[in-house]
């Protein structure tokens, strides 16, 4: 009965949405704001990648909220699953190939991740995508040797200070007479690596924060003990 009702609900929702969907003027987005941002972004923010200009400039506080969500999720998972490292029987270390491969891969992933983060204002990619790669780099040693847990102190420092750095850059703008998160520094030449003012710094903070949070989340989940009884 309940199943039938929910199926009807889902079907009805789908039908309604479909009917509305066909009324949309697809491919001719109104772009009131998008157009304005597109023409103003090179001058106001100085990033060649307009999406980056929106993510860190025009909608910077969304990104801050998003970092906070990752932090809250990681904190909550840590709070729920707790520290059980002593009682948990870790998985056995994986074979030599994966261990050696992990050690080789980790610096490589770090470099690739940082590259993607630092070119976020020029090409597709940036703090989130690079951050995920950083997370993989941080997490691979755990995967290769589950008995040696993630270095918590170092991770905690990266996690705390990268988030704080994002906010402090924003506050620096507030206290130099502007608004919170107003772009600072010289915009430079459009398309150069050193351009777009504080944007690359912000993206670096985002990338480190995302990487640290996600690696922390993965480590918590991997170390969790679910009783077999």
């Amino acid at each position: 009965m309940r199943n039938l009702a929910s199926l009807l609900f889902a079907g009805g929702l789908g039908f309604l949405l479909m009917v509305f969907g066909l009324q949309f003027d697809f491919g001719n987005a109104p772009m009131l704001v998008g157009q304005a941002i597109q023409s103003a972004a090179p001058e106001q923010v100085g990033a060649a990648n307009i999406v980056t200009a929106v993510v860190l400039g025009y909608r910077g506080i969304d990104t801050l909220g998003e970092l906070a969500i990752l932090f809250a999720a990681s904190t909550a998972v840590g709070l729920i699953l707790g520290h059980r490292h002593t009682s948990t029987k870790p998985d056995p270390d994986s074979g030599l190939i994966l261990r050696a491969g992990g050690e080789l891969l980790m610096p490589l992933l770090l470099v690739v991740g940082l590259y993607i983060i630092l070119h976020g204002h020029l090409t597709p990619g940036g703090g989130f995508q690079g951050g995920v790669i950083l997370a993989a780099a941080f997490f691979i040693p755990v995967l290769a040797r589950p008995s040696t847990p993630l270095k918590h102190t170092g991770m905690m420092l990266i996690e705390g200070f990268s988030g704080a750095a994002f906010i402090l850059i924003g506050l620096a703008a507030l206290y130099s007479g502007g608004e919170f998160l107003q772009p600072l520094l010289d915009k430079g030449t459009l398309g150069n690596l050193v351009s777009a003012g504080t944007l690359p710094l912000l993206y670096l903070a985002v990338g480190l924060k995302v990487g640290a949070e996600l690696a922390g989340l993965l480590a918590h989940l991997a170390a969790a003990e679910v009783s077999e009884s």
Binding site: L13, G34, P42, V226, S227
Partner: protein
């Protein structure tokens, strides 16, 4: 190209994809019996919503929103929905990880991941902590079972002792 008198266009296909994912995800959230499936269904519905958001900023004759020097005057697709989707994807994975962590805790506490079993155990648990003897399902519709006035409810020995 037409099918059953309906012209098949790109937007029809894309919107079918987006709304289809949302509806499949919604059905899964409501219908799935296993907690892990519910988490998967949530991810599916989120994917559909993200696709819909990207579609809302699409323009036919436009390039990706990245300036490459000379041709800066070319029209671009709307960068704002793309930025929103970036945010939404990362939010989604955070929520998903939290859900997986909670599922582990549920498994630890109740020993099962079956949604209806969890709900039953939960009801019993709440009633037990409050010191109420369970008198049948709490899910019964309103008015189905006659409810005695509160002071006549049978109490467990523990709570009447005070």
């Amino acid at each position: 190209m037409t099918l059953f008198g309906l012209e098949i266009t790109l937007d029809l296909i894309l919107y079918t994809g987006a709304f289809g994912l949302i509806v499949i995800g919604a059905a899964g959230i409501v219908l799935a019996h296993h907690l892990f499936r519910v988490i998967l269904a949530l991810a599916i519905a989120e994917a559909g919503a993200n696709l819909l958001l990207v579609l809302s900023g699409y323009r036919w004759d436009a390039i990706a929103p990245i300036l490459s020097g000379s041709e800066s005057a070319a029209p671009m697709v709307d960068p704002v929905p793309q930025a929103m989707v970036l945010t939404a994807i990362v939010i989604g994975v955070g929520v998903q990880a939290l859900a997986v962590g909670l599922a582990m805790q549920v498994k630890k506490t109740y020993g099962t991941l079956d949604m209806s079993a969890i709900r039953q155990r939960l009801e019993a648990d709440i009633a037990g902590t409050a010191g109420i003897a369970t008198t049948g399902s709490q899910d019964a519709p309103l008015g189905e079972r006659p409810l005695p006035p509160a002071d006549a409810v049978p109490v467990t020995p523990g709570s009447s002792a005070r």
